[in-house]
Every structure is written in structure tokens, then in C-alpha cells.
């Protein structure tokens, strides 16, 4: 756990002066940010802007988790990586960029493919963080991260993007639903499109990752979120946002319900019938 600070250094006061002026944040909010840790699952199109703005704002510790290495086709949206870090693990490339922006942040890279085998390890990682941000690129990881957050009681700020659309919700927070409450069964594998298949305009995950960072900062500073029972939908082609009122936490949910059947992490690739990566191409129908 982070050592608990109660004041800001003179350098912090200079660096954060423009946000210390905000009545919604102020010194107590800034101190709270510096005592919080956030696990970022996925250092791609969402994770890059998210980690960038969390580090800039002074979150105390960032865990950066990714299984992948930087490829040229990532650079149109994964803006922490550069031509010089092609081939490097994304978690390391992102950590390097973060420390150039704010060297005071504790940055912990995890170059790790999530699987049944390292599920216990993941739970232990999640336990060490206050908030989890799901920036992953595949369905099995989204169920895995959800279940890990419910089992450890952590709020999950989740965003996703594809083509010119994005979605954002906060799960498992203040009586709101978890991912499984909304989606008890995984989608049939041949209906799932990822960014490799369907494409994505890079700035769309940029917008969604920034919005995700804002909700993390609001939770971390004690303001609370606007999205624990809401889904924000963005259509970039029409330039349109829509907020949807979501169901409450479901009594019958397999993981957060009254009589849960999921009490430890499972084999999510088998559960979803697909791999925990966005690499292998599938039927490109939906």
C-alpha cells in the first residue's frame, strides 16, 4: 500500500496549482489523489490517454498491465508509445512515457497475459489497488477483470471503443450493477468484433479514455462518479452522447448477487469461447 500523505510539497503546490483552485478538488482532493493507486488493465487506445491524464493529475501509483508489444499499427491511437519503442512491451513503453511527464508517480509495469494460471496473481495485484480501469481489448478479460473487482470489492471504471463509437460505465460501485449483472452470458464468439477486425478511429478511444480518467479522478478524490448506474454512449460520426439509466445490482447475479456461484476466478477463455487477446481473427459480422 501507498504510504499515506497528509500534505502537499511546495513542488506539488506549484505543479497542481491550477487544479488546487477548484472547489471540487482543493488541497484535500489533491492529497487524496496522491494517496490512491489505480490498476490500468490494457495499455492500448484507452489505457494510453487514461494513464497519461491520471499521472498528470497526480495519482500516487499506477499499475500498467498489458500482454502485448508495441506495433506500428498501434501508433494511430496508442499515443504513449512512439516509433522508438516499437517492439517493446506496451507496459514498459507506457511506464517510460509516464515517468517523463511526472517522475513522482510510482509506475508499476506488468507485462502479463491474463490466464487461468495467473488468476491468483491477478487477484493479489487487484487487492493492492484502490480502483481498476478496464481498458482491455477482448471479452474474456472483461469478465475476468469484473469478477476480480467484485471478489476484492474494488470499483471498476470500464470503457470500450470500436469504429467511431464508445461506451463507458462504472461497475461494482455504490450499489450499482457489475458487468455480469448487465451481461450474464458472454456474446457468441462470432458476433464479437475487435479493433483488429473492425477498425477504430484513434481519437475515439482517446475521447473515451479521457472520460474514463475523469471518472477515476472523481472517485479517487472523493467526489464520486456520475456513471455507477449509467451507460454513456458516444457516436463519433453524429457527434452525439447519450446517457442511459441502467438496472440496479441484480440479486441473481452469478458473482455479485445474493447467492453467488462464482466465488473465485475461472477459465474465462473457455467461458467465452474465445482467446484473451485481440489477435486471432474471427468472423467479422458484428
Amino acid at each position: 500500500p501507498l504510504k499515506s500523505l497528509t500534505t502537499l510539497s511546495n513542488e506539488d503546490i506549484m505543479r497542481f496549482s491550477r487544479q488546487l483552485l477548484l472547489p471540487e478538488l482543493g488541497v484535500p482532493g489533491q492529497v487524496s489523489l496522491s494517496n490512491k493507486s489505480v490498476l490500468v488493465v490494457g495499455c492500448g487506445g484507452l489505457g494510453c490517454p487514461l494513464a497519461q491524464y491520471l499521472a498528470a493529475a497526480g495519482i500516487g501509483r499506477l499499475g500498467l498491465l498489458d500482454y502485448d508489444v508495441v506495433e506500428l499499427s498501434n501508433l494511430h491511437r496508442q499515443v504513449l508509445h512512439t516509433e522508438l519503442t516499437l517492439g517493446q512491451p506496451k507496459a514498459l513503453s507506457a511506464a517510460g512515457a509516464i515517468s517523463r511527464l511526472n517522475s513522482a508517480i510510482q509506475c508499476v509495469p506488468y507485462h502479463l497475459q491474463l490466464s487461468r494460471e495467473n488468476a491468483i496473481q491477478l487477484i493479489q495485484h487487484v487487492l493492492m489497488y484502490d480502483i481498476v480501469a478496464d481498458c482491455s481489448d477482448n471479452v474474456p478479460t472483461r469478465y475476468l477483470v469484473n469478477d476480480a473487482c467484485v471478489l476484492t470489492g474494488k470499483p471498476l471504471v470500464s470503457a470500450s471503443a470500436l469504429r467511431m463509437e464508445g461506451q463507458l460505465t462504472v461497475y461494482n460501485y455504490r450499489g450499482g450493477p457489475c458487468y455480469r449483472c448487465l451481461y450474464p452470458s458472454p456474446p457468441p464468439p462470432d458476433t464479437v468484433t475487435n479493433c483488429s477486425d473492425g477498425g477504430v478511429l484513434g481519437v475515439v478511444p482517446g475521447i473515451m479514455g479521457c472520460l474514463q480518467a475523469l471518472e477515476v479522478l472523481k472517485i479517487a478524490s472523493g467526489q464520486g462518479s456520475s456513471f455507477e448506474k449509467q451507460l454513456l454512449m458516444f457516436d463519433g460520426q453524429e457527434g452525439r452522447f447519450r446517457s442511459i439509466q441502467l438496472r440496479a445490482k441484480q440479486a441473481g447475479c452469478a458473482v455479485c448477487g445474493e447467492t453467488p456461484t462464482v466465488t473465485q476466478l475461472q477459465d474465462y477463455e473457455r467461458f467465452c469461447g474465445s482467446a484473451a487477446t485481440d489477435k486471432c481473427r474471427r468472423l467479422n459480422l458484428l
Partner: protein
């Protein structure tokens, strides 16, 4: 005998690709003796709008996993799901969950 029902149907998140890529559809359901409910609307969409591979949209008598249904900007779970009785001018959205980064 109830009057015909005008609805605004929207498809998003990729679900529109099953409907010629068109996101917005203004449809009129014919008048019938009982009120229209969501279950009947799904059957009507299957019979009148879905061109091919209906199983990518409907499984059994409901939508397939991974599609969220919204009635007038609220999760249909809050509205009674398949039993919700449609009103004239209702807005019904079918949104495919996104998973990309």
C-alpha cells in the same frame, strides 16, 4: 382493435450492420386487438427487417447475449423486458456491446 403504432428503432455498436448499416428506422406496426409488447416486436423485426443470419440478433424469443435493449433511454430491465407494452412514439434502441480498446 388498437391503432397502428409508430416506433423509432435504433441500432448501434455494430448491430446496425445486420440492418444494411442503417442506424435509424422509423417503423409502423399494424393495429391489432391486443397491445404490442417487446416479445412481439422482436418477432416482427425478425420477420420484417432481418435479411440474413437472424441468430446474430435473436436467440430463442429474446435478443442474443451482448445486445443491450433500451426503451426511451432506460435499460429494458427497468421496464419489464419482453413484457413491456409498447406505446406510440416509443424509442427502442438495440446496442451491441463494444469490447475494443
Amino acid at each position: 382493435m388498437a391503432a397502428p403504432l409508430a416506433l423509432h428503432l435504433e441500432f448501434g455498436g455494430g448491430a446496425e450492420l445486420l440492418f444494411d448499416g442503417v442506424k435509424n428506422h422509423h417503423v409502423t406496426l399494424p393495429g391489432q386487438s391486443d397491445p404490442w409488447d417487446m416479445k412481439q416486436l422482436l418477432a416482427w423485426i425478425r420477420g420484417n427487417m432481418l435479411k440474413e443470419r437472424p441468430e446474430l440478433f435473436i436467440q430463442g424469443d429474446t435478443v442474443r447475449p451482448g445486445i443491450l435493449v433500451l426503451i426511451n433511454d432506460a435499460d429494458w430491465e427497468l421496464m419489464g423486458e419482453l413484457e413491456y407494452q409498447l406505446q406510440d412514439q416509443d424509442n427502442v434502441v438495440f446496442i451491441s456491446t463494444l469490447h475494443g480498446d
